[in-house]
Symmetry: C2
Amino acid sequence: MDVVLLGSGNVATHLGLALAEAGHQIIQVYSRTLGNALLLADRLNAEAIDNMSGLANHADVFILAVNDDSVESVVGNLPHDLKGLVVHTSGTTSINVLKPLTRHGVLYPLQTFSKAKGVNFHAIPIALETGNTLDMAELEALAKSISNTVFVCDSHQRMTLHIAAVFACNFTNHLYAVAADLLRQEGLSFDLIKPLVIETAQKIQSLEPEEAQTGPAVRNDRKTMDKHLGYLREDPDWKRLYELLSEDIQKKRKVSGEE
Amino acid sequence: MDVVLLGSGNVATHLGLALAEAGHQIIQVYSRTLGNALLLADRLNAEAIDNMSGLANHADVFILAVNDDSVESVVGNLPHDLKGLVVHTSGTTSINVLKPLTRHGVLYPLQTFSKAKGVNFHAIPIALETGNTLDMAELEALAKSISNTVFVCDSHQRMTLHIAAVFACNFTNHLYAVAADLLRQEGLSFDLIKPLVIETAQKIQSLEPEEAQTGPAVRNDRKTMDKHLGYLREDPDWKRLYELLSEDIQKKRKVSGEE
């Protein structure tokens, strides 16, 4: 298919590379900043544009891979006579913001993208939603060409997926950052904790997270927790996080115990 | 070496199996509950005991692999005339609780252990501490026979490692559990989020967590965050966690931005 990418960030980059590799033609990359459009367009053999009036109207699919908060304003600026399917890639934006466009949908890849690291797109689940069945067939064909796990869900379920991803990925990464800071303060290497991080993620590939839970909170090692809270007294934000997360672990343990 | 294990939980189990595989002889497994001692002793060709007066005094090393909160009480009940080296495996317990014993030390494996899942012990960093240099040579030989990463640190640094591990592993696993609950409520499979969990852990093997941070908070996608908080209004604990973690991500971003 002939694809136009709107956006030049992490999602646009990885999605563009995966689509190109699957044999699709990325014909244009749009960004408000021409320099950013050029950088990505160059990698995809595409034309870089910074003006929506220049959009190639004959494209099969227009992919809005922009920040969640920018989707609506980009939609507002799109020509309304586009013949191709217009999809956004946002977890939390309803399909309804695309209603001004006749043919519209959502293609939401459930993954964390950083420009500095490549990803295997085939392992990434992709959630789809469209306004009608005909458009779904086309969008499904596109998604299946780059991923082995493609499924349909509505806008509410997609937001749930996004919030779950924020907890399991964005917040998790922040806890890694807290650990790194704690170690740095004592002159200890973050490398020491890397095997633990991998093992923790691998465990829940085969165990339920509830079964995999370890640590002072789930064992109710009160003395240990008090020592840790004493240690953290000079970092009130981390102390508060420690308390809240420990309380939540203990609540969950009680609920499970009663089942 | 001839080793006596005190404890029959996750750490005792995985450590015992690794030591046996490295060619050491586990001669006894002690537990207050004979049934638990028997279960593990059976796998290690060891004798099961539930009375400390029966401890084999000729053993080279006694390993106290018990809950952090129980180390002190177990030490209190140990015969004080043991000739072997007595070590505990606790992250947060000071070496000082072992002072009643002439030869003492700490062997702290930095990993999360669940009985239901095997681990590759050679990849697990082990932190060591002893009361004197001679004992360190012996403890180091033991640790190096099961791990490729053995290092010396004091009790304060070990507590830092433990707290960092609580953030990067125990709390992280709890966030996986929150994600699983959110998905379950909407009839969505936790499997959908597993590739994301692995990728998040893999990213920080090569990137600093600060560089790897993605999501609405670090982008300051305020509209998205407000929608998420609205969604979570009926789960006040998770809403509070969402707010705190997002605020902490944004604080960190500002600090880094000023550098």
